[in-house]
């Protein structure tokens, strides 16, 4: 469809373009048509240069204004709606920012929103998981403008091209509705869950925050990211941003190791698209074994230190 015009809303932090952008562009290119990317916030112009080099991008709009830092929904949605007119599709990754901003954008435009798309069938038809991923729904959007969030792990990152042009647009500024107070971000010593090639996750079976070091020990050997079940997060073993599952992060690494995790459907929703799954659990009946390529029935307090030693 030649009249398809797509605007991809990219996230950036301190001038670094989010790695999900290249994957959202894969989804965008499957829609056909021209693709612009919007980058906003302090140091947006640096991130805009990175976006311009991603394959398929025809133009980048850079809006450098600190009002858009932290992707504050009130400010970012005002900016997006001010630019939306020529576009048929507005796309963003289904990160916590995308899920915060895009429904607000849709409602301001008077259209519906399609969340967490994992496959594009055509310019108006999309596949998305429902009921914790236990069902896949194919939906057709009836709206003239389609506001969509894309599950990054369901798409491949696009490659590089010679840089497309970068232009700037007027800032819609601070709407004066919210103020950012503070943030507590995980220190970035280990790979991020979203982009990791290997993930090792621990569950309630670990028993304490201290014991979670067993998971970290193996993670360090493998250069892996660390994840967790909801039970482990609720019990305070690890911070919330490590939760994998229906209401946490969706991951699809090459290798996912689940230790001391039973395999509830809400957890499986977040990791069952991993290429290879390993389960370590002392209960041979644990449901996690039904999705595991390699199952080790063992006490994790023995298996994890041994794994760390022998890797």
């Amino acid at each position: 469809m030649s009249d398809t015009r797509i605007l991809v809303i990219a996230e950036q932090e301190k001038g670094h373009l989010s790695s999900a952008t290249a994957r959202v562009l894969d989804a965008a290119s499957q829609l056909g048509g021209s693709i612009d990317v919007l980058v906003a916030g302090s140091q947006a112009s640096e991130a805009a240069q990175q976006a311009a080099r991603l394959t398929g991008v025809s133009g980048v709009i850079s809006v450098e204004d600190s009002a858009f830092d932290h992707m504050l929904a009130e400010n970012v949605s005002a900016l997006i709606t001010s630019l939306a007119e020529p576009y048929t599709h507005l796309l963003c990754a289904s990160t916590t920012s995308g899920r915060n901003v895009m429904p607000r954008v849709a409602a301001l435009l008077g259209v519906g929103q399609i969340s967490d798309v994992i496959a594009i069938e055509s310019a108006d038809t999309f596949v998305r998981p429902i009921y914790a991923g236990s069902v896949l729904a194919t939906v057709r959007s009836l709206d003239v403008k389609k506001v969509i969030t894309i599950r990054p792990t369901a798409f491949e990152p696009v490659g590089e091209q010679s840089a497309a042009s970068v232009s700037s647009a007027d800032s819609t500024g601070d709407q004066g509705m919210v103020t950012f107070v503070e943030e507590q971000l995980a220190n970035g010593e280990r790979p991020e869950l979203g982009g990791a090639r290997v993930i090792i996750s621990g569950g309630r079976g670990l028993g304490s925050a201290e014991n979670f070091r067993l998971i970290e020990g193996v993670a360090d050997r493998l250069g892996a990211a660390v994840g967790a079940s909801r039970a482990a997060v609720d019990a305070g073993y690890v911070p919330n941003d490590l939760q994998v599952g229906q209401t946490g992060k969706m991951v699809a690494p090459e290798l996912y190791i689940a230790a001391g995790i039973s395999g509830a459907v809400q957890h499986l929703a977040g990791m069952k698209d991993s290429k290879v799954i390993v389960a370590i659990n002392s209960d041979e009946e644990a449901p996690i074994f039904q999705v595991a390529d390699y199952g080790l029935v063992a006490d994790l307090f023995q298996a994890l230190p041994e794994l760390e030693r022998k890797l």
Binding site: S97, G112, Q113, I130, V178, K275, A292
Partner: protein
């Protein structure tokens, strides 16, 4: 301050979902239904605000056919002061729900609207921010803690990188994450009493709102199940297979 809480009736989170033979939709006949877990957390937070003397009235609202009254009665048993049923024989989507809730906000003028961050059926995570947009209120999604002083609201949000705290003035829309609180269970006497309490009712058609669905469901399917693989006998065998068979380490 009045707190409005939106409640959705969904399939119980322990039930395995089936689909119809013709793949036209999920099959909910005879399925056990319950209040969406995130709505329970929203309601619990509202009731706690009342117990702390910050809220003086908690109004629960649900949209749907007659069956949603069951969840509204649960809300009354859990501490809601009033229950409002917006009756609709057809299901509304997120935008439709947000438009209905915006009309309820216009009539009730709450100081705070609490919703679950997502419902565990559609997993959309849309209604809260849509309502905030339609009512021109600030929004704080995925809340893991809330504090209110006067008309200033501070919310800590669970975001991908960790936690973020935002400040805004009321009225505002807040959507709740899992760790905001642990909802209480309704006590039997309260459940009995709630059976006799009135539920206010509004016909969706009388609101003058367009709730036509924005999407059509073409088909549903059960994703291809993963096959269970092999059991390994030792850590050595596991490492060997990961290296030489799966070639992932």
């Amino acid at each position: 301050m009045k707190v409005l809480v939106a409640i959705k009736r969904v399939i119980d989170h322990n039930v395995r979902v089936r689909i119809r033979e013709d793949h036209s939709d999920v099959d909910l006949t005879h399925a056990k239904m319950a209040m969406n877990p995130f709505c329970e957390i929203a309601l619990e937070e509202a009731v706690r605000l009342k117990e702390q003397g910050i809220a003086d009235e908690v109004v629960a609202v649900s949209i749907g056919d007659k069956s949603v009254q069951e969840q509204l009665r649960t809300a009354l048993a859990l501490g809601a002061d009033r229950a409002l049923h917006v009756s609709s024989d057809t299901a509304v989507d997120s935008l439709g729900a947000a438009r209905v809730l915006a009309e309820v906000v216009r009539r009730e003028t709450p100081g705070l609207v609490l919703l679950g961050k997502q419902s565990i059926d559609s997993d959309n995570s849309q209604t809260g921010p849509m309502l905030a947009a339609l009512t021109q209120m600030p929004q704080a999604t995925f809340a893991s803690s809330i504090s209110i002083e006067g008309d200033r609201l501070e919310v800590t949000r669970e975001i991908d990188g960790g936690l973020e705290t935002l400040a805004m003035s009321l009225p505002a829309v807040v959507t709740t994450d899992l760790r905001l609180n642990e909802p209480r269970y309704a006590k039997l006497p309260a459940i009995m009493k709630a059976k006799k309490r009135p539920i206010e009712s509004l016909e969706i058609d009388t609101l003058g709102i367009d709730v036509t669905p924005r999407q059509t469901l073409l088909r549903v399917e059960i994703p291809r199940e993963r096959q269970a693989g092999v059991r390994v006998d030792s850590v050595d065998e596991l490492i060997d297979r990961l290296k030489n068979e799966a070639k992932v380490i």
